[in-house]
Symmetry: C2
Subunit: 340 residues, 2 copies
């Protein structure tokens, strides 16, 4: 394996192409005119400002050309565009199901609550020879500038992931494998909801004490839903759970935390959405997660408060107060119930 195609030239796809420059990546942008502009300027000021694209990265506007010689195809669209991208691939006359497909997309599909691997299973005509999810605490901006980063590659058979793990690892980008695909995909989606709550706390002027407590209860809430759905609790203590939750909840790069901070400061969701270049995944995931919680009969108190703030005009300060007052009084009892 020595050539990788990255489909989707947003922040994350562009950062991955920069990271993997030694694999002579192709980077596909569905907007052919923008692909042309990036190809010429070697910059993507909209999605990855300040980073120069190495000459080894080929930016293409034609998806068939982008995957033509690929030994690995990496899908990096926004999560709500994944189904559309899969359909486009399936319709290609020369789409080959013997090429490993790695999805680098987080988030649940909003209408269906489906995870990325489920969406692909539905849309690709045949299951690819190898299908894996690459996720974890990895802000695009930091990966592009070589900050030490550890991520998870999830697939049903860890043995078969090893060649991908070796090819896609670099000195600063360490890949761990995990066979709990459900847990990994759910954790990285759900963490965006908790990150919105962490941002709301920031916007209200609260502090690190509040954030430590919110993340503790947030991880417990994510884990509870995961267990109810059949995931392994250890996955939530790992990089896709705890790791990504911490990174997203403390980072000024995080769209979800930033959205929460604006909401906490009193700006409406409508106004935040109007201003934003990118839509924060966690807004949609909040609804999808609560629907999953209903189906699996699990309580998600933080997700519920985030929902009520975003969609029912609840005052953020009241929501945090309700969360604190609602809290059970013993960690012992609560840990038996899966809380706090």
């Amino acid at each position: 394996m020595n050539h990788v195609a990255v489909l989707g030239a947003g922040s994350w796809g562009t950062a991955l192409a920069v990271l993997w420059q030694e694999l002579r990546p192709t980077l596909w942008d569905h907007d052919a005119r923008r692909a042309e502009s990036i190809r010429r300027s070697r910059r993507s000021e909209r999605f990855l400002p300040g980073v120069a694209l190495p000459s080894a990265v080929s930016v293409l506007g034609d998806v068939a050309e982008a995957i033509q010689d690929a030994d690995i195809v990496v899908l990096a669209p926004p999560s709500q565009a994944l189904r559309q991208m899969a359909r486009q691939l399936a319709a290609l006359p020369d789409w080959r199901d013997d090429v490993p497909v790695v999805t680098a997309t987080k988030g649940l599909e909003v209408d269906s609550g489906k995870r990325t691997s489920q969406v692909l299973a539905e849309e690709l005509p045949q299951a690819p020879a190898l299908l894996a999810s690459l996720v974890g605490p990895s802000h695009a901006e930091e990966v592009a500038r070589g900050v030490p980063t550890s991520v998870v590659l999830a697939g049903p058979d860890v043995q078969r992931l090893q060649p991908l793990q070796e090819t896609l690892s670099t000195a600063t980008f360490r890949i761990y494998t995990n066979d709990d695909v459900l847990g990994v995909e759910l954790a990285v989606s759900m963490k965006n909801v908790i990150a919105i709550a962490a941002g709301i706390s920031d916007g209200l002027g609260f502090g690190d004490n509040t954030k430590g407590a919110l993340l503790t209860r947030g991880l417990a809430e994510m884990t509870r839903l995961g267990i109810a759905m059949g995931a392994r609790p250890e996955t939530f203590s790992g990089l896709a759970g705890l790791g990504d939750l911490v990174t997203t909840s403390i980072s000024r790069h995080s769209r979800n935390r930033n959205l929460g901070e604006q909401i906490g400061a009193g700006i409406s969701l409508r106004e935040v959405t109007r201003r934003a270049e990118h839509v924060a995944e966690g807004v949609r995931t909040t609804r999808a997660a609560l629907e999953l919680a209903r189906v699996h009969d699990v309580e998600l108190p933080i997700a519920q408060q985030v929902h009520d703030i975003l969609f029912a005009d609840k005052n953020p300060r009241d929501a945090i107060r309700d969360l604190m007052l609602r809290a059970p009084k013993s960690e012992v009892t609560s840990s038996q119930k899966g809380a706090p």
Copy 2:
């Protein structure tokens, strides 16, 4: 219960006295001259700058006077001064073992590796009627200004903690109980070591991705030691473990993170210690934790690297690199082993 004595007028003791002003607290400073100065100025510029002491707080330089009418005695000295404080109490002619004692001190005793409840059991002539540890994600500066905070009150019998829990809780300071005293005391000590590592990463200019991965592996390492010593793993996922780890590792208030940041920026431990007003607990805890790890035959890779940086002049960048390269390649295998 309506009167509380807080012994130790450092940052934490002073913040607790401010928090509990409705309980008409006495605040004891072992330095009688400083007590006099704080009493007059109503300020502790050294330990809690910018915060005015409410008039309900009585600052005293005489310990017998401070505990005279107390219904609850709270010990808030630096951890290495706890044994000395306990001896002083035991020597008082009117020390009463029917008063509940709450320790609000974190950290292991450096020579013995002993936890706070162990030190008190050795030094007080009789076990107090009720002995509990109050710890968790609670920076003094934030508690003093009413930032929403959740903490743990740990004691062997959760039922008996309830009156304390009710008396010491406020609208912004929520107390959860937990009967895993060993786990709680170990978690809040060990987290300072990981916070030093997080600070070192900051000092090296690394980012949120690195911190997310470090905290994930750090919590696994703390949990591993706890399980080997007989603590409950859930305690480490709770406020005293994950919560305090997050708060300490992201905060500019944290002495341990700040020390790490200076070390990561190339300043020697000797120089950092010379400049500091307070000694960071984690420096001593690193040695105590590694000794416990040796006794219980557990590996603590992050604590070991922090040790080598602090005490053996290891280059911080090499240490982070060694940590990343050392990393096992599968989360599945590693979670079975208790890593990453």
